[in-house]
């Protein structure tokens, strides 16, 4: 399948960190079934770091690989570091994505950012 790089194929066939986190500290969702890709990220935060990241993804090979790669890149990083992950850095780590797939499948970073925003919002509400 040379439309996808070997790294994409590896993350598609063996996605890391698939699943949900019960009582997650933050949840972020991005995309919708109309465009064909939708991802939900769950995070567990400890000492301003992502102690755990999990995701669920409905979508094409690229979308699944992106989610997996994002989760791997993010795990153990500080929240600020994670906010610096962009679609481009993800695509680079994946050794490229097909041009036409770049935008719709590459929503992983956004979904994760949303999860962090969700976490921060909850923190504020919690009054800490």
């Amino acid at each position: 399948m040379p439309v996808y790089s070997q790294t994409v194929m590896d993350h598609f066939m063996n996605p890391r960190n698939v699943g949900e986190i019960e009582n997650a500290d933050g949840v972020g969702e991005e995309g919708n079934p109309v465009c064909g890709d939708m991802m939900t990220f769950y995070i567990k935060v400890k000492d301003d770091r992502l102690e755990d990241v999990k995701f669920k993804t409905f979508g094409c090979g690229a979308a699944i690989a992106v989610s997996s790669m994002v989760s791997e890149m993010a795990k153990g990083k500080t929240l600020d570091e994670v906010m610096e992950i962009t679609p481009q850095t993800v695509a680079d780590k994946l050794e490229g994505l097909p041009k036409n797939k770049f935008h719709c499948s590459n929503l992983g970073a956004q979904a994760l950012h949303k999860a962090i925003e969700d976490y921060r919002k909850k923190q504020k509400k919690g009054g800490k």
């Binding site: 064909g36 409905f58 979508g59 094409c60 699944i64």
Partner: protein, 395 residues
């Protein structure tokens, strides 16, 4: 690894007999059929023979056959050529909503040239209602184009009934028979159409081969202007090897059609019956009865077609999908949406198209391998998670 090719709608392999028939024309018989010397003779005779065979497959006359380079060219030629041939009559054409893009986009090009296009909808099985075609026809209608069968959902359309209407109103009627010619019986006289497209790569003939049949007396504008080839209706040095292969494939298809249909139909029926039985929330698309013998098409809820296709591929199984992610336009199949399916469901499309090489063991293999794959994708799917949490039961 087991390898199971169930994507015969994308293209069929070339039959060894067809390849054998072509080889001399990739070798010593290389002349141009238009040449008046001996070198042209063999090529010219081969064209004549192929023309007779293709005509024979669909019950037409040899001189009504125009060779083209593919089904897409035949459809462009038919839609644009027939619509443009009657400037005095009007600028309105009628097509169905589930035509192949080579028809739909040709119609869109006609719109740029000042035509109006009416798209007739289909029912949930993909059937075009002849009465709806009749209603769409106007005094300035110059062309009706409704496909003989849709390759994506397998539904066979009531072309004969539509032809009865167009004949009465004296409106040229083209049918795209790319999915049917060579696969199920196609007889232009019985169908009553005025023009018909076919393509060799759909019935074990060569890529690069196609034909448009145009009934004698029906006016059509040229699409490829040029020399005197094909009676001046399609210029360009003829692709002799491909045409020879098309002729051979047509001959074999005609001779073996019944046997092929008998082989494929029970395999198809088993897949249509047992796949939804072994996987929850699987919808059969297309018509329950009026469908192509090799076509088994489904939508698997809560998952996306491309990832399903890729995991099946990793198990050696080749299929197609009409999901947005498998199309470069990144839109879900217009055919599935026309059936009234939601975008989310259309995304889970998977199309098995069986062929000559398909055996019962291949169906076993699919039925064995697909459920765990679907399960794996659903375990990953946020849509499935929402569904199960919402506590809604199965279908």
């Amino acid at each position: 690894m087991t390898r199971v090719y169930l994507d015969n709608a994308a293209t069929t392999p070339l039959l060894p007999e067809v390849r054998e028939a072509m080889l001399p024309y990739l070798g010593e018989i290389f002349g141009n059929p238009s040449s008046l010397h001996d070198w042209g003779d063999g090529a010219r005779e081969a064209l004549d023979e192929a023309r007779a065979r293709v005509a024979g497959l669909i019950g037409g006359s040899p001189e009504e056959i125009i060779f083209t380079s593919c089904g897409t060219e035949s459809n462009n030629f038919a839609v644009k050529g027939l619509a443009m041939a009657q400037p005095a009559r009007g600028k309105h054409v009628v097509v169905s909503a589930i035509e192949h893009f080579s028809v739909l986009h040709s119609a869109r090009t006609l719109e740029k040239w000042g035509f109006q296009v009416s798209e007739v909808p289909v029912d949930k099985y993909g059937l075009v209602d002849p009465a709806a075609v009749k209603k769409a026809i106007r005094p300035d209608t110059v062309l009706v184009s409704v496909m003989h069968a849709n390759g994506e959902i397998g539904t066979i359309e009531p072309v004969k009934e539509i032809a009865r209407i167009t004949r009465e109103l004296k409106i040229p009627f083209h049918t795209d028979a790319v999915a049917t010619a060579g696969t199920i019986p196609v007889d232009v006289k019985e169908l009553g159409v005025d023009a018909l497209s076919l393509a060799g790569s759909q019935f074990y003939g060569p890529k690069g081969s196609g034909a448009l049949w145009v009934k004698k007396g029906v006016r059509i504008m040229t699409l490829l202007d040029g020399g005197i080839q094909e009676g001046g209706r399609r210029g360009g040095t003829e692709n002799v090897p491909a045409i020879v292969g098309l002729g051979k494939a047509a001959e074999l298809a005609a001779a073996r059609m019944d046997a092929r249909i008998k082989q494929l139909t029970p395999l198809r029926d088993r897949l249509i019956r047992e796949l939804p039985a072994s996987i929850d929330h699987v919808i059969v698309t297309g018509h329950p009865r009026d469908r192509l013998p090799g076509n088994a098409s489904f939508c698997v809820e809560f998952i996306e077609g491309e990832s399903l296709l890729m995991l099946l591929n990793s198990r050696g199984i080749a299929v197609s999908s009409g999901s947005a992610c498998t199309s470069r336009a990144l839109k879900a199949s217009h055919v599935l949406l026309a059936l009234g399916l939601s975008h989310a469901i259309a995304q889970g499309s998977v199309l098995f198209t069986l062929g000559l090489e398909t055996a019962a063991a291949d169906i076993d293999y699919v039925l064995e391998n697909m459920p765990p794959i679907v399960d794996r994708l659903r375990q990953m799917s946020p849509l499935y998670a929402k569904f199960t949490k919402s506590g809604k039961g199965g279908k």
